[in-house]
Subunit: 453 residues, 2 copies
């Protein structure tokens, strides 16, 4: 059986021929000697590696294409709960044995769950890579997820929710998603709710594990002092035939998210905080939209650095906040642009007025040529600087494969950024900043105050 994967080399390039299962494709060989390779194993499980000269370590990631976006409200938080539970034990290892094996070599092992994927990872000295593959593969294939462990871990997850609630800068982000995406799977928190977590049964969580952790949805990535052939051998030995699968990688997430929200909607968590924490934003394009490069340039110039308009107007000239900045988030078929600010309640009206004024001005007039050029430079430099450690390289491989089904060399992304023109940015600004906005607020307010903000 052959796989249908398309291994792209960037914008405008012709798609190369599909690579048969078991054959390895060389995707990149860069000027400092880095080498990216990719193989699809027989179950449909994909393996990507990137060698980095000059490092002593490797970071391994096992990515599973499941996240909170796949959950119904009744089982909200299952993917994240499961991610916790996997560390509690497997058919051959206790939680203590898992932890001890990694601590003994000074490695860092952890995991995170997002809306569209779950990732288990370990950063180790290169000589300990076999241990990392063995341990993480064991979690992903042979976790026992016992009822007793589930009860114990339920409290831990509830404590994690409480911790999020206590950190207003975290709480406001979850509230913003809820306000923007409403009652959809993207609107719900990755953590779930106290109610959904209290209601999860062993069958819910273990069933989720058995159905979702299948070879076609799994991508193994490793970066650092690694050898592709060695990683393939380790992965083959560790996974064996323990993962079921169609033999082909799972299809990409696509499609648009239908969200119907009232205009100018707002959400509030009333709390006696010193600062009011605000997120103001609007829906944006999804990750397959080619306008995302122009949007990234826009985001950088508006709120991405110390020279950005929002930082200069609100912090530098007026000293109204400690933190202010913007962010773009992309999912399949949906996305968000948002501005964060934290300040004392008495400064909120002026801060909101300045943010809205700046967004309106950019929507009407676009950016100057200087701003566009600077933002391109900022993105280019930031991209390269952000890829100097094994963890970020490992992460880039995993996210690219799960999100786009292809690896795009860094130089091609740099070229796409360079190709962004002032007119494209103006067009994206007019679109994004002309939309109805959502506001999420954590602070000392009542619901009835929201209309005046």
């Amino acid at each position: 059986m052959t796989t249908s994967d398309v291994i792209g080399t960037g914008a405008g390039a012709d798609a190369p021929a599909p690579v048969p299962v078991g054959e390895t494709a060389l995707l990149d060989l860069d000027e400092v000697g880095g080498r990216v390779e990719r193989t699809t194993l027989h179950g449909g499980l994909r393996v990507l590696t990137e060698t980095m000269p000059g490092v002593l370590s490797a970071t391994l990631g096992i990515w599973v294409g499941v996240g909170s976006r796949d959950e119904t409200p009744a089982v909200a938080g299952s993917s994240h709960f499961l991610e916790h539970l996997l560390f509690k034990g497997t058919s051959s290892r206790s939680a203590l044995e898992i932890a001890t094996a990694m601590d003994a070599v000074g490695g860092e092992m952890n995991a995170f769950t997002a809306k569209e994927h779950t990732c288990y990872y370990a950063n180790v000295l290169a000589s300990d890579l076999p241990l990392a593959v063995t341990l993480l593969a064991d979690l992903v294939t042979e976790a026992t997820n016992t009822a007793a462990d589930l009860e114990s871990e339920r409290t831990v997850v509830l404590e994690e929710i409480a911790m999020r609630d206590d950190e207003p800068a975290d709480a406001v982000h979850d509230l913003f998603s809820e306000t923007l995406f409403g009652d959809t799977s993207l609107g719900r928190s990755v953590l779930g709710t106290v109610e959904s977590i209290e209601g999860l049964t062993r069958d819910d969580v273990h069933g989720w594990y058995r159905s979702r952790y299948a070879a076609p949805s799994i991508v193994v990535t490793a970066a650092g002092r690694v050898d592709h052939r060695q990683v393939l051998d380790l992965v083959t030995a560790a996974f064996g035939d323990r993962l079921s699968g169609t033999g082909e990688p799972a299809p990409l997430r696509t499609g648009d998210l239908e969200v119907v929200r009232p205009a100018h909607s707002a959400g509030l968590i009333a709390r006696r905080t010193e600062q009011t924490h605000l997120l103001l934003g609007a829906p944006s394009m999804g990750r397959h939209d080619e306008r995302r490069y122009a949007a990234a340039v826009l985001d950088a110039a508006v709120g991405g650095g110390m020279s950005s308009r929002l930082f200069q107007e609100i912090r530098e000239k007026r000293g109204l906040v400690y933190s202010v900045g913007s962010a773009l988030t992309h999912y399949a078929g949906a996305g968000a642009f948002s501005v964060y600010a934290g300040c004392s309640k008495k400064r909120v009206p002026e801060v909101l007025r300045l943010i809205r004024g700046e967004l309106d001005r950019v929507a009407a007039d676009g950016l100057t040529a200087d701003e566009v050029a600077r933002a391109r430079g900022q993105l280019r430099g930031g991209l390269v600087l952000g890829l100097e450690d094994t963890g970020s390289r490992m992460s880039r491989l995993g996210k690219s494969e799960l999100s786009y089904g292809e690896y795009v060399p860094v130089r091609d992304v740099l070229a796409r950024i360079d190709a962004v023109e002032e007119a494209q940015v103006r067009s994206v600004a007019a679109d994004l900043f002309g939309r109805d906005t959502c506001l999420a607020v954590v602070g000392p307010y009542r619901e009835s105050d929201l209309d005046r903000l």
Copy 2:
């Protein structure tokens, strides 16, 4: 004039002969081709560089040996306030020009202030290192610190204090220092207080700048794709003779901190949080105490990883918390050992009982040979893994030089960790865990509740 610096090569090694001003010493040449060099320039300013093969970037740091420990209560927060103010403009650059220059190349420029030092840093592509040196040197030598900028930045710093207060995990750390070190310079927050910040004048802050930012207190460090000779030329050109100095590096901080605290003291910030955030701890040794390596092994085994006693007993077996862990902090002549936990109020009595029980048990019986071996492995691996990026290397050079006046090769630190024996750990545990403890609490309590905790 010659300098009196001692460039050590690690434990047990004879100190090499002092290196004359202007001459460069090769301090290390490691197996992956890294090279560490050091030069003292004529004003007493020190320059250390570390080359890292295989990277495209460089991180530059300008370290100034001044921090909140040097402040009196009336001007608490001056060092940190000054760190903010430097970015507001110099005799030749506005705040916008400073920010624009760095954003245009995608570099990251920032600064932080600690109790014993202040650091300005920039991470840039290697070709932008000249820009980074020019900009940061300008801040450190030619900031104007105008009264108008001071007024504007005063609000920003007050907002930063409010932000700290809203994050219970941050607030509890400052409260712990205050509880443990009492009314001493180490007990006060780096941020200062609302009162001290409101009272600072331009003379206070600019006076602090003129008196403290002198060549003998400054260390410039750079790591990554750097060349020592090039960095020396850039630093010499950028600083010129604009910094006064004795010509010799400033003496090391030494001496003991006299702290008189009541037994079992406790501090509280009463807040309606979901979780109670706790720090329980005791004074520890200062950074020149050779027992710190045994203490690091102890800390790792007790609360440093997922296999540690506290994590296993409190989270893994009983599911009582999301976060629990221990930490060691060293200053000149003083230090702290502490355990952090966050959990719902109803679980606090059991969590505190378990923490105290574990510390008592280790104080009485020490650790097992297995635990000591594993903790050594954890520290060794963690040390090497933690030094693979240019920022951490740059930081290590700066802290070592300011704190110890010497560079210790990584392999020598690894050897010191390896030399830690079970009996030494037992002796340190009996000492540290036998001391009267302090407790800092952020959560829904009253002062009168503290006695029962």
